[in-house]
């Protein structure tokens, strides 16, 4: 939500860091301008609306883009920013159920896109020769339903790198240089936890903030985690899931690698200011979160490595519900917002990592550095991490709810300390049973 306040300095720093500088940006916005103007012209028969509504959640970095679009097309944009992805999901479900109330464009997150695939006929088919081949293949394919209709335009992706506190690493006798750290942590989760064990032996701080955060990294590397492709819920019987659960909790609780904080909580935010933990799984969009919370704290850096290889966490799509009155104009806007030029600007604004091939390869991304993270070449690192992604997990319609349930299970043990791992697992099995 409220990152606006914090992202201003970040935005400034990032854009300063873009190698090509102002000239390139100007050129790009000129391109963007053309695209916008084109689409408007193409549509002039369909009667351009005065305004369009767009619902997003958390941060998409669209504020300035909307202003730009308004200037170019004269279409004013009503931006509804929902606090969390969960609330955005509930709200969109409501609108679909009621048959009204949805915005012209609704942002949908990867984890619950599948759920809406069940009702894909309630979204416009956005397939268009003009945007074909724009996105990474997997990003595109996830948004295509069984009949081959494309219901969403990809916005960002969440390739994960590892953020770490160089100063705390140094105190604990670990290497601090980001190449060395990458080498140190190159390996599986066992290696990551082992390094953590060394670290906590020498440090007051924990290795990571909490199990729920690390879980996102682990589960996004499992090919078929919670639901089989024929629609059966297997979360409670899948040995992969249980093994990861046990491994994680052993590291978190028995070996005390975890700071025991539930992510996004107030205590979690506060811990950034208190040397609470030394590492954090960092998808692109997390960089802004770390920076906002750790405002004024020195020592954060980001390494080109991720336990267990690569992994994607999050990332979203823009959809156009059929119930809207301006579907054509909405489609144009969605196409414009997800065009490479605009994705680069969203990245500069809040670190949302582009999902289009062209943007990923662009000079702006490849050369972007971030002052807060010790001038780390974040663009290059994340692009490398995107390439390292091997597994795109299969996510069924219950993915989100099951993942929430298992994160609750982890937090019962790690954060609240009210259950041991086995008791909490039993409750999770119970919760999953209720969904079947």
């Amino acid at each position: 939500m409220s990152t606006t306040d914090f992202t201003h300095p970040r935005r400034r720093r990032l854009s300063q860091a873009v190698a090509l500088g102002a000239a390139a940006t100007l050129a790009l916005s000129a391109c963007g301008g053309d695209a916008g103007a084109d689409s408007e012209n193409g549509d002039s028969e369909a009667e351009a609306p005065d305004s369009l509504s767009v619902t997003t959640f958390n941060e998409f970095g669209y504020e300035e883009l909307f202003e730009e679009y308004e200037e170019q097309t004269g279409i004013s944009i009503e931006h509804n920013k929902v606090d969390t992805a969960e609330n955005a999901r509930d709200s969109l479900r409501n609108s679909l159920g009621a048959g009204s109330g949805a915005s012209d464009i609704e942002a949908v997150e990867l984890d619950w896109l599948v759920e809406f695939m069940q009702y894909s006929d309630r979204f416009e088919d956005l397939a268009d020769p003009e945007v074909e081949g724009r996105w990474l293949d997997w990003k595109y394919e996830d948004a295509v339903d069984e009949e081959g209709r494309q219901i969403g335009y990809g916005t960002d992706i969440g390739p994960q790198a590892l953020c770490y506190r160089a100063d705390l690493f140094e105190e604990a006798g670990l290497p601090t240089d980001r190449e060395e750290v990458a080498e140190l942590l190159d390996g599986d989760w066992g290696n990551y936890f082992d390094t953590g064990r060394e670290f906590v032996a020498e440090s007051e701080s924990a290795w990571y903030s909490g199990s729920d955060n690390v879980w996102q990294g682990m589960i996004n590397q499992v090919e078929v985690p919670f639901e089989s492709e024929d629609g059966e819920i297997i979360a409670d019987t899948n040995p992969d899931v249980k093994d990861l659960y046990d491994e994680l909790l052993e590291a978190s609780v028995e070996d005390e690698l975890s700071a025991g904080l539930s992510q996004w909580s107030g205590d979690w935010s506060d811990a950034f200011q208190r040397d609470g933990f030394a590492t954090m799984l960092c998808p692109g969009w997390m960089l802004g979160v770390v920076e906002g919370n750790a405002d004024g704290v020195d020592g954060w850096d980001v390494a080109d490595v991720f336990p267990g290889g690569g992994g994607n966490w999050g990332g979203s799509y823009l959809t156009v519900p059929t119930q809207g009155e301006n579907v054509e104009a909405a489609k144009d806007l969605a196409a414009w917002l997800t065009a490479p030029e605009q994705q680069i600007k969203a990245f500069e604004a809040i670190g949302a990592f582009p999902s289009t091939v062209e943007a990923l390869e662009s000079e702006e991304i490849q050369s972007a550095t971030d002052e807060f993270f010790n001038d780390a070449p974040v663009g290059e690192i994340l692009a490398n991490r995107a390439e390292a992604i091997e597994v795109q997990p299969f996510k069924g319609p219950n993915y989100l709810l099951i993942n929430v349930a298992i994160q609750d299970a982890l937090n019962r043990v790690d954060v609240d300390g009210i259950d041991d791992a086995d008791e909490s697992w039993d409750k999770f099995v119970n919760d999953v049973e209720a969904m079947k």
């Binding site: 996004w264 107030g266 205590d267 709810l401 299970a409 409750k427």
Partner: protein, 321 residues
């Protein structure tokens, strides 16, 4: 002329006969549409598979009810709802009576004090919940910091069941104690002053007067306050919903109430059938507690009636002698 006059008087008769019904009709029409119909229709929905988006499905009879009462979450929600209700009503009534007793005296700037205690009432529960959840942050919140400085270990306000209930009850108490104090104050002022005079003559101290005169006379008001708290209190939603940033009532449903459970089933899981079943069960619970309240009230009210007449008789006797 004559027929018109006739017409007029007939119109006037009609006017007199039917106007009252017209005047009261808005309430009845609205209640029928937004109150009664939804309640009755809830039973219908509860007897079906019913998806938020896909709409009505098969008739399933009591399956939804069976499913719900088979859930651990349901019983936890029931426990939490009752516990939070008791924790918020009990202390609140006691504190409100004491505050009322303090207000019921020769105070300077009387209106100021009355307004002062009422102030929290105008703060929206959502704001109250946000402020209090900051107080009760588990690690770095104000309450645990203060406890820490006086050497008490941090309390698991968001991990343990009872502390979380206390925290949520404190939000309810914050908002309603002053309000109820004014209700009690009004009732106290209706207590015949000669009862106190008599008690004083009998040599009763102030505390004794409070316990043996004021409190018994307040009993009907206490019951009233408890009954009205029951209806709202058992449907509590705002405060537990906003107690943490997830709004689901904790990792283990530590403070998930019935209404949150209803919301989660209906709007997060999109299962209107299950949500309606919970609504019906909660309705029955409220009715049951209402009946219990009513029986107790009747009994106490009757006892009260006898008691006060004896008191009065004693008073009269005292006056005569």
């Amino acid at each position: 002329m004559a027929p018109r006059k006739h017409l007029r008087s007939r119109a006037s008769a009609w006017d007199r006969k039917y106007s009252p019904y017209l005047y009261i009709s808005p309430f009845f029409i609205l209640f029928a549409i937004v109150g009664l119909f939804p309640l009755v229709y809830t039973i219908w929905v509860a007897a079906h598979d019913w998806d938020l988006i896909m709409g009505q499905g098969e008739f399933v009879g009591l399956d939804n009810f069976a499913h719900v009462v088979g859930q651990r979450a349901f019983w936890i929600a029931l426990r939490n709802t009752l516990s939070i209700f008791i924790l918020s009503t009990g202390p609140q009534v006691v504190a409100a009576i004491i505050i009322a007793y303090m207000l019921d005296s020769h105070l300077r700037a009387r209106t100021f004090w009355r307004m002062g205690v009422l102030l929290p009432y105008v703060v929206t529960p959502v704001a109250v919940a946000l402020i209090f959840s900051n107080f009760f942050s588990q690690r770095f919140g104000l309450v645990n910091s203060v406890l820490d400085t006086i050497g008490i270990d941090a309390i698991g306000w968001q991990s343990d069941v009872l502390p979380s209930h206390l925290a949520i009850a404190s939000m309810v108490n914050f908002r309603w104690t002053g309000y109820n104090a004014l209700i009690f104050l009004a009732a106290m002022q209706a207590v015949p002053r000669d009862l106190y005079e008599q008690a004083e003559i009998d040599g009763a101290g102030k505390v004794r007067q409070f316990i043996s005169v004021t409190v018994p006379m307040l009993r009907p008001t206490i019951i009233f306050v408890v009954i009205t708290s029951t209806i709202g209190g058992l449907q509590i939603f705002d405060e537990p919903r906003l107690y943490d940033q997830y709004g689901r009532g904790g990792t283990d449903g530590q403070w998930q109430t019935m209404t949150i459970y209803l919301y989660e089933l209906g709007w997060t899981r999109s299962d209107f059938g299950l949500a309606s079943a919970v609504a019906v069960l909660l309705f029955l619970l409220i009715v049951a507690i209402g009946i219990i309240n009513f029986t107790i009230t009747r009994r106490i009210a009757n006892g009260e009636g006898r008691k006060s007449t004896t008191q009065q008789r004693r008073l009269k006797k005292g006056a005569r002698s």
